[in-house]
């Protein structure tokens, strides 16, 4: 049990050879609190796995310090860090049985036999592997193999953290839900620091207490799922989290008014002193856009209605911009021209892609 501190951690795979560095991970300060479940969310190639491997010691960062509580472990080899990690594709020891596979991390650390047996039985029960314990691991399905990998990650009770690198990629969708909720339950019962890498927002939002959104080797926002949804700190977070993502409309600001495609929108806060040449965007979630009869609010045109069963999405055109609104099932959307209203307090202002907090008017 430990908190893990990243103190200016950065990594460039080519190594720190002078000039402009090609960072896979840009300098980062962050504290992972003990006992929390984190998700690292971001598109492929954004540096999630690099960050994970730095924490586990498989990659030594080119800059910065890594602390477990107060101990500096930046250059310690993996074996001495007391960390567990589960990989994207199942890694099993072919020649061993399922039970031996699960016991392997404990056996290597020379725990007493009875402790190992008890722990293996407990983990096997959690992951529904009890029936297969005495089978050779080789012949099992990909699902079962990945469960063994998960089991090996969870079997050590004294680890500082358990890291998951997209562990459910190879798992069948139905089982995915089950395993994810199981992991969540295990997290609650074991009270471990868990870090879960994924590019699937549903996975991230259901698993984690805190979600860390990354892009291009940079952390854009750390927050609860609700915070990510309600106050995305970066346009990318707004776009990436939520389905469909946030509407982003280029705008010009005049203190507490925004001009979008020649139409004026009143904002609830004032935004004085925004540089002239800055790129300003308004962000509003589809859930917070209301379609009304023409004549009230902003003027827009309906392009298409997507019926997803549970909700309907109206694809709208506002001048040169496209946006999406969710429409209640019982509301008949007029053809052609409609009116639009943005929910008060739900319109965010982004200056050069970063969210700016307005001053109360």
């Amino acid at each position: 049990m430990a908190r893990i501190t990243l103190d200016g951690i950065a990594h460039a795979y080519a190594g720190p050879a002078g000039g402009k560095k090609d960072y896979a991970l840009k300098p980062l300060h962050h504290v992972w609190e003990a006992g929390m479940a984190y998700a690292l969310l971001g598109p492929s190639g954004c540096g999630k796995t690099t960050l994970l491997n730095i924490i586990s010691g498989l990659v030594i960062p080119s800059e910065g310090r890594l602390l477990f509580d107060t101990r500096d472990v930046t250059r310690l080899p993996t074996e001495q860090r007391n960390i567990a990690q589960v990989f994207q594709f199942p890694v099993i020891y072919d020649t061993m049985t399922v039970a031996e596979n699960l016991a392997f991390p404990l056996k290597n650390r020379r725990l007493p036999k009875d402790v190992i047996a008890a722990r293996v039985a407990e983990i096997a029960a959690m992951l529904d592997l009890t029936r297969d314990l005495n089978r050779r691991a080789r012949g099992l399905t990909a699902d079962a193999k990945q469960k063994i990998s998960l089991g090996r990650g969870l079997v050590r009770s004294d680890v500082s953290a358990v890291l998951f690198d997209e562990p459910l990629t190879v798992i069948d969708p139905a089982l995915k839900w089950e395993l994810r909720s199981k992991l969540k339950a295990i997290h609650r019962s074991l009270d471990l620091l868990m870090i879960y890498v994924t590019h699937d927002q549903v996975e991230a939002l259901t698993f984690a207490d805190r979600v860390v959104v990354m892009k291009d080797g940079q952390v854009l926002q750390v927050g609860t799922p609700l915070e990510l949804f309600e106050r995305p700190a970066h346009t990318f977070v707004g776009y990436f989290v939520g389905s469909p993502g946030m509407n982003l409309l280029p705008a010009r600001l005049a203190v507490d008014r925004a001009l979008v495609d020649g139409q004026e929108i009143r904002l609830d806060a004032a935004y004085p002193g925004i540089p002239q040449n800055a790129q300003v965007q308004l962000g509003v979630r589809p859930d917070h856009v209301t379609v009304t009869q023409p004549g009230s609010g902003l003027k827009a045109k309906v392009e298409r209605i997507d019926d997803l069963g549970r909700v309907r999405l109206a694809r709208l055109r506002l001048g040169a911009d496209l946006l999406v609104a969710t429409v209640p099932v019982d509301f008949a959307v007029p053809e052609g021209e409609v009116g639009l209203r943005f929910a008060p307090g739900r319109v965010h202002v982004y200056v050069d892609e970063r969210r700016v907090e307005g001053a109360a008017t």
């Binding site: 491997n53 586990s56 010691g57 498989l58 080899p77 993996t78 074996e79 960390i83 567990a84 990690q85 990989f87 994207q88 594709f89 890694v91 020891y93 072919d94 020649t95 061993m96 392997f104 991390p105 290597n108 650390r109 080789r138 012949g139 990998s149 090996r152 990650g153």
Partner: protein
């Protein structure tokens, strides 16, 4: 599924059948033919039935005695070769670099002995190990160790074995290297996370993953060492005495030295059957391993 009967298909198979007939079946049949006859030269042959085979399988006869002692030498030689080259090849493969510029250089150097023609290998070692002018032989003698492969059987065996190890360990190493390269990095990373020792990584990950290529390596090295002819023939000519006379060398002595075509033919066929039997055993083991993997 409907089976289509079209006899024109035979035309497509015919070229292969002809090639196999001329390259394998007919030569084997001439050998079978020789093995049941005796000749005193002048191209005159006499029917001998299974006489040669009876002699051959009776260790108390002259022919049987020579056959069994040469066969024994073959098995001992193959056993020594396998027990040295396989572990050594694995160790070398583990020590080879996995990435960087060293890889290409290592591969080229490793492949060199495999590219040398076999009788050139024999000639190299014949000179290299000579007690009077050979670099190795003279050096060993200079150290005060009496070493002369032309007069001492032990020295002759050591020379032939070291030569074969020099010649063929690369093959085992390269095969194992290919097996090692096919192991994904995640296995090594997981092993580090699991706190596995170096030995555990070898025995639980690397060795199981190398099993298939190792079986092939053992098969190839067994076949080749069991059929060895050229190199020891060039270096020792089967001597001193008969101490390095392997079956293949003895067959040639019978056939060309004594013109005993019948005896030579009988030995050849039994020799061939032994190799076939071992091949079959290996093939069965390998397909079983595969089946077990898929199960």
């Amino acid at each position: 599924m409907n089976k289509v009967a079209d006899n024109r298909a035979w035309l497509l198979v015919l070229p292969v059948m002809l090639i196999v007939a001329f390259s394998a079946l007919l030569p084997v049949m001439t050998v079978v033919n020789y093995s049941i006859q005796d000749t005193f030269g002048n191209n005159q042959f006499f029917w001998n039935g299974v006489g040669w085979y009876q002699d051959l399988l009776d260790p108390s006869s002259e022919l049987g005695g020579r056959f069994f002692s040469a066969l024994g030498r073959n098995f001992i030689f193959s056993a020594i070769i396998l027990s040295i080259e396989v572990p050594l090849g694995v160790v070398v493969a583990l020590a080879m670099p996995r990435q960087g510029i060293g890889v290409a250089a290592t591969l080229v150097v490793m492949a060199l002995p495999l590219l040398v023609p076999w009788n050139v290998v024999g000639t190299i070692w014949q000179i290299f190990a000579r007690g009077d002018i050979g670099l190795l032989g003279a050096a060993v003698n200079a150290l005060g160790i009496n070493y002369n492969y032309t007069s001492e059987p032990i020295a002759a065996w050591i020379t032939v074995i070291v030569m074969d190890v020099w010649h063929w360990t690369s093959l085992v190493a390269l095969l194992c290297y290919a097996g090692l390269k096919s192991i994904p990095d995640a296995y090594y990373q997981a092993a580090r996370i699991d706190g596995a020792s170096r030995w555990a990584i070898f025995s639980k990950i690397q060795l199981p993953k190398m099993r298939r290529v190792l079986l092939i390596a053992v098969l190839l090295r067994f076949m080749d060492s069991f059929m060895i002819y050229t190199e020891p023939f060039v270096v020792t000519g089967g001597g001193p005495g008969n101490s390095t006379t392997f079956l293949s060398i003895d067959v040639v002595k019978f056939a060309l030295g004594q013109l005993d075509l019948g005896k030579a033919a009988a030995i050849s066929l039994v020799y061939y059957l032994i190799i076939l039997l071992v091949c079959w055993a290996f093939y069965t083991v390998m397909t079983n391993v595969d089946a077990e993997r898929r199960a």
